[in-house]
Amino acid sequence: MAEFTLPRFTGFTGFSGFNSRDRAAAIVPERSVTGRTLVLLIAIMTFLMGVTLGGVVLVQKSAIAWSSDVGREVTIQIRPVQGEVMESNLRTAVALAQATPGVAGARALTLEESEKLLEPWLGSGLDLSAIDIPRLVVVELADPAEADIAKLERDLAAVKGASLDTHAAWRQQLNVMAGTIVASGLLVLALIVIATVLAIIFATRGTMSSNREIVDVLHFIGASNSFIAGEFQGRFLTIGFRGGIIGGIGALVFFFLIGFTAGAMVPQEAGQQLGILFGRFALGWDGMFGILAVVPVIAAVTAITSRLTVRRFLQTTS
């Protein structure tokens, strides 16, 4: 410091860069942001969002599959009527069904099959030959949308004791139930997002207060609010991604384990029946993609929320 001739900033220094950092350090130090706690919090929130989203996808898929299966069949029920010959009515009903546009096939259940359907209610080993029981004709539809159900219903009026069950009430109830679960899931997702945003706002405010010195120095040297907000946003974006990835992977592992455990615990035959009734615990590619899509969304929510909070903080303090 013996010489006092202001440099002309020629650019020549002879500086080799040894021992210096490869890149300039971040203006907002990593450790000064409430990092670990926030990463954990975002990981938990992402996990909850992933599990909720996955649950919604599973329910929706099962409802669609079940509704579709049920919708591909209608049933003709023929009640015993005095003076009518059941077998003859069954053949007529089958013929009418087969003649209906959009019907792929129709088959009358045998007496044994009909009796077997009553077993859950009446018990097995009973002799039902003395009782006249209603008989069923199962009608498979080629295309539920194209099938002329109204015509079949009109034609069946000619068969005494015949009625048509399109399972519409079941399907409606199933759709209402599935819709309620999906809507509840979406509400839970919205609440999780709101809770996450609130937690990030509190964390950002805390971070701003503990980094007040950095903010002041940046202001004194002419940094704009958007520059300062950008520096903090970068930190929070990293935190959002870290937490999001941890939570997202956790949710995927959760569904994998649930699917694996359910497959291992329930016998294969029963598992298939349960799968038909309640759907399988398999998310599919779309479900997995949905859970993974939560990660950038939560990171973006974290970054945007922190940026807005920082800007608001700076506007009130500068």
Partner: protein, 219 residues
């Protein structure tokens, strides 16, 4: 360059800290700002740095009435003003080079474009061997030289210094003052707040003396 017209300042409902300030400072001048502790030196510097607005009167900088500036315009103007604090205010996690380069980073300049200039300036203030040192391992004098380098790296038109020699020994104080004098010779307007009489007597620059919130010019 700097003009105060009937300026007064008070904090909240308290008494006026600064009263009836009327003065003009020409570009390229060097002024000492002195007065007893609590006389309002730091408040006056904060008015000049635009981190405070006067409660009355008008402050004009670079020909513009500062009361009419919006936030962005104020930040733009602040980039023409350098500030050196008594307590240095270096960022602890940044190296000397990174601290000094901060105003250029804020301006959006890439590191490759300013690294050479920052290194050259640090050589000039005698910190050429301390580029990668963190503030925690710098002595008081080194920290103050780094703070001065940070204040001048973006070539401000005005340099404000608030007790820049308050934490260094008398010999280093004189050397730092010579540094400010050299900066002034290159055209930078300097206002240096100090209450060290020995320093005031060592340099022939005019003095702004604050007493009870009012200012008098000497020399």
């Amino acid at each position: 360059m700097i003009e105060f017209s009937n300026v007064g300042l008070r904090y909240g409902q308290g008494p006026e800290i600064l009263r009836d300030l009327d003065f003009r400072i020409e570009p390229g001048s060097f002024h000492f700002l002195t007065g007893p502790s609590g006389s309002g030196k730091t408040s006056l510097l904060r008015l000049l740095l635009l981190s405070l607005r006067p409660t009355r009167g008008r402050v004009t900088l670079f020909g513009k009435d500062t009361s009419s500036l919006d936030n962005d315009q104020m930040l733009q103007m602040r980039r023409h003003i350098g500030i050196v604090f008594q307590e240095f205010r270096l960022l602890d996690h940044l190296t000397t080079l990174e601290n000094v380069a901060l105003p250029l980073r804020v301006l959006g300049e890439p590191e490759s474009s300013y690294r050479a200039n920052v290194t050259e300036l640090l050589d000039w203030v005698g910190l050429g061997e301390r580029l990668d040192a963190l503030p925690a391992v710098l002595s008081g004098g080194e920290k103050q030289r780094a703070a001065i380098a940070r204040a001048v790296i973006a070539r401000p038109d005005i340099l404000l210094a608030d007790e820049p020699t308050g934490n260094v020994d008398p010999e280093l104080s004189l050397r730092l003052l010579r540094l400010f004098a050299e900066l002034n010779r290159t055209g930078t307007t300097i206002i240096l707040a100090t209450h060290e009489l020995a320093l005031l007597d060592s340099f022939p620059f005019p003095r702004m003396v604050l007493t009870d919130g009012q200012i008098e010019f000497h020399g």
